[in-house]
């Protein structure tokens, strides 16, 4: 019995050091307002979870609308003018639209409107068009944004929790993209 306990304990340790799926995070009632980069759930009410290979298949078969909601780096105030500021080009899943700022727990009316209108425009108002929303691994921005899209009435929303890191780790290509809108000052 002791041997069993010891084995289970080391298993727990191993699993907790591997991926976040093992962490069993419940969905919050509303939008997530805790730390943006922390363990995420493996469900989203009203939407579907998708993983890299299924996503690649979906892209090939159904031309989903791909939305990347990652943050955009901003040069901090107070940084000396000659200090090196050189953000990486933003790598996204080919064909994705990069719409920063729409994954917060609360967003301003302007941003809410912008996100809703971008989705309406890109889907031509088709609420059944597959939409895939992602950012990074262990990042709640895409969970919140997917929940927001579900709230607008879209019926085929996929959330890709492994994000761009998971996409690249699965061996798929990326493209450099620019954001759809500059971040708020």
């Amino acid at each position: 019995m002791n041997f069993m306990k010891c084995l289970l304990c080391s298993l727990w340790l191993l699993l907790s050091f591997s991926q976040s799926q093992a962490e069993n995070v419940p969905e919050p009632e509303g939008f997530w307002s805790g730390p943006v980069n922390s363990a995420v759930p493996d469900t989203i009410r009203g939407g579907k979870i998708i993983h890299a290979r299924e996503l690649s298949d979906l892209i090939a078969s159904e031309d989903p609308l791909l939305i990347d909601v990652s943050n955009m780096p901003k040069r901090p105030e107070g940084m000396p003018a000659d200090a090196l500021w050189l953000p990486l080009p933003h790598e996204a899943i080919p064909g994705a639209l990069w719409i920063p700022e729409v994954g917060g727990a609360t967003v301003s009316g302007d941003i809410d409107e912008l996100f809703a209108s971008q989705l309406a425009q890109e889907t031509a108002g088709d609420l059944d068009r597959p939409i895939v929303i992602y950012c990074h691994e262990r990042c709640w921005l895409s969970w919140n944004a997917a929940k927001r899209a579900i709230g607008y009435g879209y019926r085929n929303v996929h959330w890709f929790p492994e994000g761009i890191e998971g996409w690249r780790a699965a061996g798929f290509e990326t493209d450099t993209v620019s954001p759809r809108r500059p971040p708020e000052p």
């Binding site: 191993l14 591997s18 090196l84």
Partner: protein, 275 residues
């Protein structure tokens, strides 16, 4: 729970570990090399950089559990006197994370800091020797999101005790021998990319720009830091006290605040942990 189930779990856990250890694809390696070329040019211009494996070592976790607090340790071997260490987190938007210059009272053998890492990245430690040559070593770290991770539950709380410092010395301090000190500074080091947990607005950048450590007027360590330094920085460094005396720390931040604190250093029979 059956033995068989437990073993299945064990196999699954080991398999996922194996997946993590996979080498990055070639094009990714090429991208990383290209980025380093770009940064080398931006930071060191035309100066050549040699392989530094005999001069220094860099320790970093292959996968960081908290990207806002990635522990980095640089050790110098003593094969060549080192005057300065540059820490470069290649894929951070502000890649030059810190410049650490050792003074006459320094023991440069160990330097430890905690940094924010924005995405999967190479981290380079570049040593500048006293004769002006550059040597580099590198580690690849898997961590994501450290730059937008909030510093605390909200701004007001994070600013409490701003600039307070503590110094931890080992139980044994012998005059004339290297002493390893751990300096802790209360500072949120806001980088401007974090959101207040309550107001949901971006918190303006407010970060430590320099840390100056001297012992009885002799220079130990000068740090030029940046937004990559973690909240409440903890820096471990070595110095050699030739006499009893005071270790003085001066911190300047991006809002013009200056914090100063002196700590008594005496042989170990009379002190342990200075607060």
């Amino acid at each position: 729970m059956g033995m068989k189930y437990a073993l299945t779990l064990l196999v699954a856990a080991l398999a996922s570990g194996a997946a993590i250890a996979q080498a990055p694809p070639e094009d990714e390696q090429a991208q990383r090399a290209e980025r380093w070329q770009q940064l080398k040019q931006a930071i060191f211009k035309e100066r050549s950089i040699e392989n530094g494996e005999d001069i220094l070592g860099l320790e970093a976790p292959p996968r960081a559990l908290d990207a806002a607090l990635v522990p980095l340790t640089v050790r110098t071997s003593g094969a060549k006197p080192v005057e300065r260490i540059y820490l470069i987190i290649d894929n951070n938007p502000g890649p030059l994370a810190g410049k650490f210059t050792f003074g006459e009272a320094a023991d440069p053998s160990v330097l430890k800091v905690r940094m924010r890492v924005n995405t999967y990245t190479d981290i380079h430690a570049v040593a500048e020797s006293e004769d002006g040559k550059l040597y580099s070593v590198q580690k690849f770290v898997k961590a994501a999101g450290g730059c937008s991770a909030p510093a605390g539950s909200n701004d007001a709380k994070a600013l409490q005790d701003l600039g307070q410092m503590r110094l931890r010395l080992p139980p044994e301090v012998v005059l004339g021998k290297p002493v390893r000190a751990q300096l802790m500074i209360r500072h949120p080091n806001f980088n401007g990319m974090q959101m207040d947990q309550i107001t949901r607005h971006y918190t303006p950048a407010h970060f430590i720009k320099t840390i100056d450590v001297t012992f009885e007027g002799k220079s130990v360590l000068n740090v030029e830091s940046d937004i990559a330094l973690s909240t409440d920085p903890v820096i471990t460094f070595g110095f050699i006290p030739r006499t009893e005396g005071k270790l003085k720390v001066v911190v300047n931040d991006s809002k013009g605040n200056r914090f100063e604190r002196s700590f008594d250093v005496a042989p170990s029979e009379r002190m342990s942990d200075v607060r």
